[in-house]
Amino acid sequence: MAKWSMVIDLEKCVACQGCSIACRFENNTPVVGPDQALMGRAMRWNDVFPLPINADEDTGEYPNVTSRYIPRPCMHCENPPCIKVCPVGATFIDNEGIVEQNYARCIGCRFCTVACPYGVRYFNWLEPKWEAPLGEHLNPDRVEGEGVLEGPVVRPRGIVEKCTFCVHRLIKARERAEAEGRDFRADEYVPACVQTCTGKARFFGDLDDPASTVSQLAKSTRAFRVLEEVGTHPKTIYLREG
C-alpha cells in the first residue's frame, strides 16, 4: 500500500498562493466574502501565511526583521488527533494514509476542529455560495459510496471539511489505469496544489517507496515536520530555507 506524502520546499516557495487558488477551484471551496473573512471564517484548505503566526510574538525591529511564509495543507498525520475525537467516525484515515472527511455523516460538533493542532479543518458556518461566474464553473467531480460523500462535491452547511490530498484524483487515476488494463503508477496522481506550484516547491508521492522523490527529500537535513513534538507524525514534510 502506498503512503501518500507531500514535501514543500520553503526555499523555493515564493508565497504566491497559487496553491490556494488551485485548491479552491479543484475542491469547490465556498467563497465567504469579506465580512465573514474578517470574522475568521474564510475557507482555505491550503492556507499560506506569515511566520510567526501571531502579533504577540517578536518579529524584531526594522531593519532586523524576521518574517517567513509557510504554505499549509493538511498534515495528514499518521496519528491524527481529529480522528480520535470524532464521535461518529465522519473523519477517517484510509489505508493509504489520507485523512478524509465524510460529508454525509458529519454532525457538526466541531470537536475535530478544536482538536487539530494545525487548524486545517474548516466549518461551514453558512450555506455555501459563489458569485455568479464562479458558481457556473464548479468542479463536477465527487466521491460517493455507501453512506460516504466526499471529494469536491458541494458541501452542505453545518459540517466540517478539509484538505483531502485531492483524493478524487487518486480514485480517477486508478480507474483510468484499470480501464486501460495496466498497473497504476504513483506518479499518475498529484493533488492540484502540487500540479500548479509556480516555484515547483511541492513534491508528492509514496513515502513507502524508498526510490520516490518524497522519500529522498524526507531524508534531507533540511527536512522537518511541523509540531512534531505533539506526536501527530505528519506526512506533510517541509524543507527549511538555506
Binding site: 499518521e78 496519528n79 480522528i83 480520535k84 467516525g89 477517517f92 484515515i93
Partner: protein
C-alpha cells in the same frame, strides 16, 4: 507491535459505538425498575404484628 501503535489502533478502530450508551442506560433502567418494585413491596407479606 509497540505500545503507541496499539494505542493508535484502539483509537482508530470502530469500537463498540453508540450501542454502549444504550447498554449502560438500559442496564441502569432495569436495575432501577426492580429496585423501585422491591421498595414498594416492602411489608407486603402478611405481618405477624400489624403495626399502627
Amino acid at each position: 507491535m509497540d505500545i503507541s501503535e496499539l494505542i493508535t489502533k484502539f483509537f482508530t478502530s470502530t469500537g463498540p459505538g453508540g450501542g454502549m450508551i444504550l447498554l449502560v442506560v438500559s442496564l441502569a433502567a432495569s436495575i432501577y425498575f426492580s429496585m423501585i418494585r422491591w421498595i414498594l413491596r416492602g411489608g407486603e407479606e402478611p405481618e405477624e404484628h400489624p403495626s399502627n
